[in-house]
Symmetry: C2
Subunit: 362 residues, 2 copies
Amino acid sequence: MLCLPKSEPKMSKFWSQVVRDLDPYVPGEQPRDKRYIKLNTNESPYPPSPKVIEAVRGAVGGDLRLYPDPTARDLCHTLARYYGLEAANVFVGNGSDEVLALAFYAFFKQGAPIRFPDVTYGFYEAWCGFFEIAFEQIPLDEGLQIRVEDYVHPCGGVIVPNPNAQTGRLLGLEAIEALLQSQPLRVVIVDEAYIDFGGQTAAGLVGRYPNLLVVQTYSKSRSLAGMRLGFALGQPELIEGLERAKNAFNSYPIDRLALAAGVAAIEDEDYFRVCRDKVIQTRQWTVDEVKKLGFEVVPSSANFILIRHPGFAGRDLLEGLKARGVLVRRFGNERIVDHLRVTIGSDDEMAAFVQMLGEVVG
Amino acid sequence: MLCLPKSEPKMSKFWSQVVRDLDPYVPGEQPRDKRYIKLNTNESPYPPSPKVIEAVRGAVGGDLRLYPDPTARDLCHTLARYYGLEAANVFVGNGSDEVLALAFYAFFKQGAPIRFPDVTYGFYEAWCGFFEIAFEQIPLDEGLQIRVEDYVHPCGGVIVPNPNAQTGRLLGLEAIEALLQSQPLRVVIVDEAYIDFGGQTAAGLVGRYPNLLVVQTYSKSRSLAGMRLGFALGQPELIEGLERAKNAFNSYPIDRLALAAGVAAIEDEDYFRVCRDKVIQTRQWTVDEVKKLGFEVVPSSANFILIRHPGFAGRDLLEGLKARGVLVRRFGNERIVDHLRVTIGSDDEMAAFVQMLGEVVG
C-alpha cells in the first residue's frame, strides 16, 4: 500500500510480467479531507449490532499474542447452522474479495474462458488478470439484466453477481438453477454480496448442485466492512479446493477479533432484520423521490440504486453532488457512463442526497 | 477453511490443475483439546502492550461499518518514521505471509528459478507452487548456516530468512550486502520475521539497494500474531509493484482494528524492548539448561532454538513432550528430522519444558 499520492505507474525492471500487465481494481474513494455524506461504497448506514461490539471488545486481550484458529472452526459452524448446512460446506476469508480471488484460482484457472456480465463488479476482470484467466464479458440486455440463455454454452465457468453489483437487478432462483444445469462440468459462482436486500439466496441449492459456489460478505447487510469477512458455501469438494488454495497463500487471513465479530453478527438475527428492513424502506422512498426529479431508476434489490437523468451527463451529476458534500460512484464502463450508483444511507442522508440532487438538476 | 477432520484430499473435477498440484503449507498445531505449554509456533509469551489493548478497544465501535483505509496511510507513516524511511518505502499486509506471497508474485514470477535455503520457512516452496515459480533449494552448510557464495550466480531472485526460520542462525549485514551486490538485476528478499531477537535489520540498506525488500511481521516480537500484520520496506518501485499486486487481489486486507493495533505497537517502544530483552535472556537460560541435558543447540538469534540429542530420535522427543503437555515443532525435512524447534516462552514455561525434556531423556 503505497502511501503517497498515486501517479501513473512507471514500470520497473524488477516487476514480473504479470504485474506489469495488471489492471488493478480501483475501490471507491475513502476521503480523508472532509466529512462527506458517503454513498459510494455500499456500506451500511447502521453500526454493527451492539452484541457484535460487545463480543469484539471482549476478545481484545492478551490472547492477541496467539495466532487465530486457522480453520475458523467456530465461525464455520455458526454459518453452517444459519444456512442449514454442515461446517464442511463453509469456507471463510478476509472479505468476499479474498474468497472470490481464491475461488477464481481454484476453479477458473483452466483452459476455457470464463463468463461474466459486461456490467458487473470490476474485480472479476482484475482477478482474471491476476491469475491469467481468459474471460468473455456477456452483454446485459437493454434493461441491464442478465440473460441466462447467453451463458449456457460450454465455457470455463461462470460468475454472476446476484443482485448485480452495479445495477442492483436480481435473478430468481429458477434462473440460477438454469445456469447450474447448463454448466454441470464447471463451477458457477453466485456472488451474493447484496442478496439480503431483496433476493433469495441460492444457499438452499448447495445440496443439489456440486458445481454451485455461493459467496457472501459481512461488509453490506452485516455492517462490518471494517472487519473484512466473507464466506463461501458449497459442497465439500469445492470447499476443499478453496482450502488448498488458501493454505498455499496465507494460512491465517482472519484475525481473532474478526472471528469473534463474525459469530456474533450471525447470532443477532433480530438486529440484522431491523437494519435490512430499514434499508429496503429507505430505498423505496429514495426511488420515489429521484423519479420525481426526472431520474430513471434501474429496479434494485440491493442496498444501492443505479440512476440516470436524460438531461445530464453522469460526470456533471457526480461532480455537482461532490461539490455539495455527497459522494456517489460512477463507473468508466461505456454502458453506464451516465449512471450514478448511489448507496442507500440513513433517512437523513438520503433526504440530504435528494435535496442536493434536486439542486444539481434544478 | 474446511471445518471437518482432514483426510487425504480426493481430487475434484472442478479443481484447476494448479490446485490439484499444490502442496499447501501446514501451520503449527493450534490445539483445542486441552491446555498445552505451547512452544510450537513462535508466538510471544507476553501479551501485547497495554497501549495496544487500549487503542484497539478504542477503535471498536460504529465505524466498523465502514471499510478500512485501503492505503493504510497512518500505519505506513508510523512504520516509515520508526525505520527512518518515507511512507513510499512501506507496504503493509495481512501478516508477513500475505506480504511475502504478493512479493513472490510481483518479483519472482519470471523465467529463471529463484533460490532459497534447503532448510527454511516451508511457505517459500508453497508460494512457488501457488504461483508456478521455479526454484532451487541451496543446501545450508554443515553448521546449518547459509553460505552466501552459493547464491551469487545469476538466477530469478533470492529469498533468505534472517535469522533463518528453522535454525535461528543469523547473517550479518555484510553478508546481506554481498548478496544484494551479486544480484543487481533481481530482487533479494530478506525475511526478518525474527530479526528483533538478536540481529540487525537490513532496513538501513533500503536507500542504497533498489533490489532489496525487507519483510517483517507483528506476530513475533510485537506479540500480535492474532491480529495479522506484516510489512515490507523497499524503494518505491518495489512498493508500487506490491501495491499493484495487492489491488488486483484484495484491496482491504487489514481491518480497522489491526490498523489501530499496528500503530500503537510501534509507538510503545519501551514495552517492546522489555519483552524482547526478556525473551533473549530466557533463551540464554534455556540453551544452558538443555545443553546440560546433553542436547546440541544451533546458535540462535531468534525467539526459538533448534535442538537435537544424539541419543534420541526427533519423533520420540516430540511425542514424549506432547504426552507431558508440551508442544514443540518438528519438521519433515531430512536434514533436521531429529531436531526440535522450541519457541522461547516465559520463564515458567521454559522451566517446565526443561523439566519435561529431562524426563523424556532421563
